[in-house]
Amino acid sequence: MDTALIPKGVKRCPMWQFLLGLGIVGAVLLWGVYAMLLCWFKGLNQTNMNDYYGFALWIWADLAVIALGGGAFFSGLLRYIIGKDELKHIINYAVLIGFICYSSALLILAIDIGQPLRGWFIFWHANVHSMLTEVAFCLSCYFAVLTIEYIPLILENRQLDKVPFFHNLSHNMHEIMAVFAATGAFLSFFHQGSLGGVAGVLFGRPFAFREGLLIWPWTFFLFTWSAAAYGPCFTLLITWITEKVTRKKLVKDNVIELLAKISGWMIFTYTIAKICDTTRWANITAPGLGQNLADFYTGNAFYGYWILFAEIVLGGVVPAIILISAGLRKHPTWRVVAFFLGVMGVSLNRWVMVLQVMAVPILPFDTWALYYPSWQEVATTLLPVAYGIILIMISYRYLPIFPQEAELNPIEEETSTAVEAHTKSAPDLEPAKA
């Protein structure tokens, strides 16, 4: 039915199966959209946020998806600037995941603010001293870069590519993609960092506050670093999930192992830095403000020392060790466990830096503020997930996302035509000509 749109040389599931899947995820999407409209029209009273908990579930989701979407900028950096050429086989997917993460982040921000119609004030009346301003600018600009990186992929759809203008546009964009990738890396460095700065500059909150370099608290660098470290983990995890769902091998192991190894070393170095930061904070920064670890991790029903352990050891040390040791890395199961732990670790870090920051009492006579999200918050947080799955489904079906797919999954019947199609469409599948 839609065979004309499906890339040559690959096989896709029947239409009904595709539509059924789309329908199920679409239902979740609609639920999320309904919740989003409630938040817009009835206001943020639809959430369980409160004056102590001004940042809540979806801001965590926001920070988490941006960290996880870091795979796009870091893979781009490695591919286009550092010149790790093998990564061209996964860069498309990294870009797509990044695009999903960043568009979701922007959508979440649009739901989160009390006056969405005035959201553009953040640009218009920008306060350059605010980390959030930096976030907003770099986030929007980098989203533009991701869009630019994603457009050629769309234009490579079999039908669109037939339009000469689109073909040329796509070609030209590939030609100068390194420039965009470099700009993207620059922007990412700052907005990932600024997101870390968002918590780190809060000198009114000893739990979040960190000293730093010039105007940037240490969390600035830690966030950039962790996004670069864990972003590829997420790209690889999603790739693995996609392979499981499609029951196909989509990316060759050498590509995956290369990215996993880089990610592993990044996580390793990041974790060392994080441990140094935590040690300094626990022994110097916080006590200097009259507080110690017990104030942050005891006296409430949820936040205990376990979260520190889970973040740094389970989400840092363990995946780092797995990914940097060749034996474990080459083992598919261990590798996936590491990806999973890594994704959990960075998500937990963002959780701690948003939600626990809000929960810890600061005034000595105040109490912990624990919060649980309302269904509207859960729905709006699931909305981007559903949206992401749908975009992946559509993109995977109609765009040549995985350059190695056809090679790894030769279509056995009609061998002659397939081979012909394969050779013929090979240039179409070539994603990037740097």
């Binding site: 006056q115 119609l117 005035r118 553009w120 004030f121 339009v163």
Partner: protein, 722 residues
């Protein structure tokens, strides 16, 4: 025209680019921000000329001067009046919230008659003429049958011309049943009469005292004239005056005091007498102000030995001695009583004991001491010439029994009304007029009060607000609120001078309401005969102006009239042997092991005026949460019952049962349960109704054997996990 794909795409892309480059999106963005900056449903208060109008607040007996800021003829803010002898610029939380009462949804906006079942809330708006016709016809009918005495009137206060007009109306009409709402004023008046042998009230020169011994008086919880008390409290801090608060619970007053003496509930009188006994025994008494104390002293020495008192009160013997010494040795010591805000009359034994302490130091009618002064006496109307029907009615006994027999000492016993109406009285009531009072909420054992009201065939409420009693009425004749009317405000409330404030209309009446004085004058005139003759004034303003006579001009000019130089009613206190026993809490110890005591908070208006939205907003989340009301208990009491912070429990007393939540508080004696007054309203609006529990539903009146006044300070209770 053939639209191919290429031209279509060009059109879409070109159109999008063209729109983006045009000013349209920018204009729309700008418009949206302007629109979102002032959504049409967000009110924009109109600007206008600013004027300040002074008046007197009547929301409590405190009598503060207020200054109302008006913009564009709207009252916008109430502030304290600077230089006013009572509050000098200060103001309390209730006074500040007055405009929410004026403009609020709780107002009764027009005269109405009941059309549904009682309490169903179905009303029909009627004209004032029709309303007055219903009232006067009904009253005339009863009177013409020779049953004028079967009409009763409940008033929130006796002071001022409006209550006086109501009282006069009752007299002219022929009913002895004008009943004032109970308060510590009842016990105070009786104690002054008993100890000084003359009618009057006490006044306290708090500002000049140098040692304060308060037996549960809520010095900063709304006792006396609240703003004056706050000011005094701060003054004492500045002058390092010792303030001792005797109370089973760490109230705000106790927290502000220099020293808090936790005492077993209901044993304050014993402690006072114990201190007196020490003073006598150790010869620390100034005999000047005391007469005939011999017998009393002997009785004291015999019955109130320090050891025994210590046992009863739970206060250390050493502490009793210390208190006695501190009190006696101070230059100008002052003892106060009247628990909390003084909402309950309390026993003569307790009040007299505390006043006796003052007398023993000789600090009577002295600077920094307790004064016994006459009530302001400016209402001098000719006596009512009763006709035959009136005389017959007035010859009947009062329904509450006050003034005769066992209750000879009492003037008003509203606490006995429910019983009387429910079958214990000499005759049934045919009609009840309620003004400035909310007995269905305010009296102990509200259930029996409601039951009594259900038996009364005709109830008229003059209330300005949808209160619980108005909800039970058959006819609503709403009064103006204080900011819409003239009125004289004689201030008692423990002031050592006589002060009369003037309430003036700050804004014109907002609704179709009528001044109660006016309503009474019109009613009397409509009824004709002797009743009309007793009301010779054309209207209320004339009445007020004539009554205040020479004070009128001063009041219009200054808003206040102060008589500082008043002759005390008497200078010596006559102490006599009494055998009145201590007032016990109702209920038996075995089934009800705990003691429930109500407490007062300045943030909870308790009385005729319900908490306006501003005030209820300030109430802590450990007093009300959602619809749940809290009790305070000591963690020890809680763990014995298996309760923890916030857990739900059932509180049972001999009078009722309520679902409550638990707040653990170290500042309360183990075994004692405290509950705030002022919650659990069923009437008013959604901002107040249905929140918490009305403690009056759990507590019943306990008669003071000496007077019949309600002397309940608590009730036995039990607590179970729900």
């Amino acid at each position: 025209m053939k639209v191919d794909r290429r031209s279509f795409l060009s059109f879409v892309i070109g159109g999008a680019a063209g729109t983006a480059l045009s000013p349209l999106p920018w204009k729309l963005m700008d418009d949206s921000s302007i629109w979102s900056q002032m959504w049409p449903w967000t009110p924009v208060p109109p600007d206008g000329e600013v004027v300040y109008e002074d008046s007197t607040c009547t929301l409590c007996p405190g009598g503060c001067g207020i200054s109302v800021r008006k913009v564009d003829h709207r009252a916008v803010k109430i502030e304290g009046k600077k230089g006013h002898p009572v509050n000098d610029g200060g103001i309390c939380i209730l006074g500040l919230s007055g405009l929410q009462l004026l403009y609020g949804p709780t107002r009764i906006k027009s005269p109405m008659k009941r059309i549904g079942e009682r309490g169903q809330g179905k009303w029909q708006k009627i004209s004032w003429d029709e309303a007055m016709a219903i009232l006067t016809e009904k009253l005339s009918d009863i009177r013409n049958k020779g049953e004028a005495h079967t009409v009763a009137a409940i008033a929130g206060t006796e002071g001022g011309t409006v209550p006086a007009l109501l009282q006069r109306f009752m007299t002219a009409y022929g009913s002895p049943n004008f009943i004032r709402t109970p308060s510590h004023q009842d016990a105070d008046e009786l104690a002054v009469k008993t100890l000084f042998g003359a009618s009057g009230r006490t006044g306290f020169d708090l500002e000049n005292a140098d040692y304060i011994l308060s037996f549960g008086s809520g010095i900063v919880d709304g006792w006396g004239s609240p703003v004056r008390m706050f000011r005094a409290s701060s003054l004492w801090k500045e002058k390092n005056v010792t303030v001792v608060q005797v109370e089973p619970r760490l109230s705000n007053s106790a927290a502000k005091a220099t020293r808090w003496i936790p005492v077993n509930p209901g044993t304050e009188a014993d402690l006072a007498l114990g201190i007196a006994a020490v003073m006598i025994a150790q010869n620390m008494v100034d005999p000047g102000a005391v007469a005939g104390a011999g017998g009393w002293e002997n009785q004291l020495l015999a019955n109130y030995g320090t050891k025994k008192v210590s046992q009863v009160t739970g206060v250390d013997a050493g502490v009793i001695l210390e208190l006695a010494k501190g009190f006696a040795k101070a230059n100008r010591p002052l003892a106060l009583c009247g628990r909390g805000k003084g909402l309950v009359a309390e026993s003569l034994r307790e009040t007299a004991a505390v006043y006796a302490l003052n007398a023993l130091t000789g600090n009577i009618n002295q600077e920094g001491g307790m004064w016994a002064i006459p009530e302001a006496d400016y209402i001098r109307w000719p006596d009512v010439a009763s006709d035959e029907l009136a005389s017959a009615g007035l010859a009947q006994p009062r329904l509450d029994g006050a003034g005769t027999g066992r209750y000879a000492g009492a003037r008003h016993l509203l606490n006995r009304l429910a019983d009387a109406v429910n079958g214990g009285g000499p005759y049934p009531l045919q009609a009840l007029l309620v003004a400035g009072a909310n007995p269905c909420y305010d009296l102990p054992d509200t259930r029996s009060v409601r039951m009594a009201l259900e038996r009364i065939p005709f109830i008229v409420s003059f209330s300005s607000f949808n209160d619980e009693t108005a909800a039970m009425a058959d006819l609503l004749l709403p009064d103006h609120v204080y900011l819409e009317r003239y009125g004289d405000v004689p201030v008692g409330a423990g002031l050592a001078q006589q002060v009369i404030g003037l309430s003036k209309p700050v804004v014109s009446p907002q609704f179709n309401t009528r001044h109660l004085g006016e309503t009474l004058i019109v009613a009397a005139r409509t009824m004709g005969g002797a009743t009309a003759d007793a009301f010779p004034w054309d209207n209320y303003e004339t009445c007020l102006e004539e009554t205040l006579a020479e004070k009128w001009d001063a009041l219009i000019e200054e808003g206040i009239w102060v008589e500082a130089d008043i002759a005390p009613v008497a200078d010596t206190v006559r102490l006599a042997v009494t055998d009145a026993p201590a007032v016990q809490a109702e209920g038996d110890v075995n089934s009800f092991p705990l003691l429930l005591i109500p407490y007062d908070s300045i943030r909870l208006s308790s009385g005729y005026i319900g908490d306006p939205p501003f005030m209820i907003k300030t109430v802590s989340g450990t007093v009300v949460k959602g619809k749940d009301g809290f009790i305070e208990i000591n963690p020890q009491t809680a763990s014995a019952t298996g309760l923890s912070e916030g857990s739900v429990a059932t509180l049972t007393t001999p009078r009722g049962e309520a679902r409550v939540r638990v707040h653990l508080f170290e500042g309360i004696q183990p075994g004692v349960v405290a509950m705030a007054r002022g919650l659990g309203h069923t009437a008013y609006d959604g901002y107040l109704a249905g929140k918490g529990v009305n403690v009056n539903e759990l507590i019943g009146p306990v008669e003071d054997p000496s007077s019949g006044h309600d002397a309940a300070w608590g009730i036995r209770a039990k607590l179970a996990k729900a």
